[in-house]
Amino acid sequence: MTLTDPREALADQSNFIGYLLGLAGLARVVHTLAADGGRRSGPPPDSDDFVHVLLGLASLGEAIERLANSALAQRDPTDEARALAAPTTRWLR
């Protein structure tokens, strides 16, 4: 592929939903780690960059789940029929 000879329908190969699912899955792993029964001995240390990376993943996952839930809640059954009738224009075409 070159700039003067673009491939058509590149967006159809996009795995964007897969990225979002992967992040949401990682966020759930973070929650599982936090709920782990084993507690470390001694006083807990201050949170450092490693813990903040985990928190960042959890936050992104929460935002993705919020996005999915609000989309489900707002879903209008006529939207699906409309989408089938007139597919939306995708980026990267």
Binding site: T2, L3, T4, V30, H31, L33, A34, A35, D36, G38, R39, R40, P44, P45, D46, S47, D49, F50, V51, H52, V53, L54, L55, G56, L57, A58, S59, L60, E62
Partner: protein, 152 residues
């Protein structure tokens, strides 16, 4: 120079970067350990996953550091919320997180920590590769005798 030529040059630079990294990996077998011969399916999968993570970090230090900083910033923001603070306290107290931290430090060799100018490779990455390449094949017990006290 036309935009097409500039993009071609970027693609070529990327190819040279990949080849240089391949060369460094070959010169530093300690950074690329061979898998165990008797590793079973699950062990081999985990080994490949960890090695892939190490390659991703060592091969793309500036991008990895950028992603790391982005997640840390978001994590700090989340920790300021009530839900985030609760999760932070649970993570800090968790033994599983401590185990995961050991795994991560072993895989990444801590190259993403420490100082780094914006959009550049972290200093620790350059230090690690310099140590791994320059130190290869040197007998440190002999060098230690020649090194004046206080020198790194």
């Amino acid at each position: 120079m036309s935009p097409e030529a500039l993009i071609g040059m970027l693609a070529e630079l990327e190819r040279i970067r990949e080849l240089t990294l391949d060369l460094i990996e070959r010169e530093t077998p300690r950074l690329l350990p061979a898998p165990l011969d008797d590793a079973c399916g699950a062990e081999r999968t985990v080994f490949d996953l960890l090695l892939g993570a190490r390659r991703a970090v060592l091969g793309n230090p500036a991008a990895a550091r950028g992603l790391h900083d982005l997640l840390v910033t978001e994590g700090r923001r989340y920790a300021n919320t009530a839900d985030g603070a609760r999760l932070r306290d649970a993570l800090v107290a968790s033994e599983a997180v401590e185990n995961l931290r050991r795994v991560w430090e072993t895989v990444s060799l801590n190259v993403l920590d420490g100082p780094a100018a914006p959009n550049t490779v972290p200093d620790a990455w350059a230090d690690l590769l310099a140590d791994a390449v320059i130190g290869h094949g040197l007998d440190d017990s002999i060098l230690a005798r020649l090194r004046p006290e206080g020198f790194a």
